[in-house]
Symmetry: C2
Subunit: 355 residues, 2 copies
Amino acid sequence: MIQVGVNGYGTIGKRVADAVAAQPDMKLIGVAKTRPNFEAEAAVRKGYPLYAAIPDRADQFRDAGIDLAGEVEDMVMTADVVVDTTPSGIGADNCDLYERYDTPAILQGGEDADVADVSFNARANYDLARDDVDVARVVSCNTTGLSRLLAPLVEAYGVEKARVTLVRRGGDPGQTSRGPINDILPDPVTVPSHHGPDVNTIIPDVDIDTLGVKVPATLMHLHSVNVTLEAEPSAAEVRELLGAESRLFLVPEETGIDGTGKLKEFAMDTGRPRGDLWENCIWEDSISMEGDDLYLFQSIHQESDVIPENIDAIRALLDWEDRETSMRITDETLGVGLESLFDGRRQRVVPRSDG
Amino acid sequence: MIQVGVNGYGTIGKRVADAVAAQPDMKLIGVAKTRPNFEAEAAVRKGYPLYAAIPDRADQFRDAGIDLAGEVEDMVMTADVVVDTTPSGIGADNCDLYERYDTPAILQGGEDADVADVSFNARANYDLARDDVDVARVVSCNTTGLSRLLAPLVEAYGVEKARVTLVRRGGDPGQTSRGPINDILPDPVTVPSHHGPDVNTIIPDVDIDTLGVKVPATLMHLHSVNVTLEAEPSAAEVRELLGAESRLFLVPEETGIDGTGKLKEFAMDTGRPRGDLWENCIWEDSISMEGDDLYLFQSIHQESDVIPENIDAIRALLDWEDRETSMRITDETLGVGLESLFDGRRQRVVPRSDG
């Protein structure tokens, strides 16, 4: 069993902790948190040993009636690996601590790429993290979504150039002070946004330009994707290729799901924890070919698509399983793969021959 | 003097009426409206002769205490030209009426292209409407914005392919029942959206694919534009080319205008009627070249960018002035051309040599 500690227990940390606890080959030895808020109480209620991320604040937890198992250093000492889900920049600062106890660590996509030995996406470059790596960085939600999409396209057809406009949610549902309200902002106004270069930390050779736009929505991002391929498959062939990927969910037209609101509603109806969507959600009907230009829309759930990647990163970093095995275990234990809900339908879709 | 009637007095109609009234070579002989709402009262207050667009409803105007000058047929009979700004589909129905009185008519972009003899954009194809045309169609706000941008690029560099994601406002500020709230929708989910083919009614040969996304905003659309050029100018050269177009406003970085909200605020501060932005608003700092790929962001004010085009369409349809003269008169009388507010700055910008 891999002994896993989770440092940070916010949007990503609480999801990683639940996912770790669900794995047959992992044991969650604890989570570390800076403040005794509602999330800290929930951790204790779930029976997760809680560590104070900042030593001076142990009193605050005591005052709030929350029992601590110790300080974050105790957790790092005991763990085989730490998943760091602290806010951007703090993860880099924490690397000294992990190094002191020779504990391998997984950082999140908010950290600079060069803080880690390798940037990680399970589908695209799992094996790189198996090779004598101390610190891996699971790339951001958007970069994860783009890497998952581009990897099979590069393998099957070759990519001449990708051009993506990311229509980004302004903030998460819990981020009450974020904007915009009733506005559409180029963000950043300069081109390219950081997402393209970030994809190159995962797939170095792909030529990709990205543009970012921020809008008044909180549920998910939406990518307007163009990929000029080195071949001219039919749209049906591309649908079949992408539909075979476990972490790409092709949203069937007949479901009537027309946007991120209904996607989240659908996820909650299926019983997904917190309504999470771990998969890229690609509108099947949007997959179009115009000559060698592929177009599609995909939505990315910023709070959860990196969760399976963090789990796989743990196994890769400890060289515990190969890629296929790790992704299969992760997907089965979490329940990744919404395609299976539409298995009867799939039979009808595959032979479609429109271009 | 050209005697102009305006049929329909909503978002576009009231703006066209004001613009016609401001022209030295035109006389507004009246406006026609279906209902005696706040806009009808405003028309009367401005001294615009008001006609009942639907004969049976004359009573409603009387009951509301609003004086009518007659019925729409009277207006069409007297006019040299009618600008039809009725809702989509009604304009096509009205063509019988215009034909009966042999009155040339200008329809809006919501009508099908084949209802009109020619689709119109002043910058791109003014002269086509001068040649024995009875019905012209001023293309929609988005198609107008794209045509204005593409025309100079086609002329200066040649366009290999344009790919545009239109991040569309959900509704106008006054459309209280439109959505979405807190959502991002592919709209339409299929590719291409109608905008690309619509641009081809203006610039037939340009290869363009467009994708539409709808978001919870009301102020303006935002286009994420990619144009693969047949040449490789520097970004500075493209800025200079676009900056010389009177209906393209390059938003200077140092103004701190970061989105559609500040653009509208800026327009109101300058005293623009209704805060209208007749120009494409192109973020100057977004204009970038990556090889032969041009990228930029532009915002389009859906309520007003077609207004100068309607005025020019009147002159073109009656073969009254040539393109340069008409656009100059229109721009001067309305006050089109925000560049002039930054003239001192322009001198500094042009020599910039970054690529």
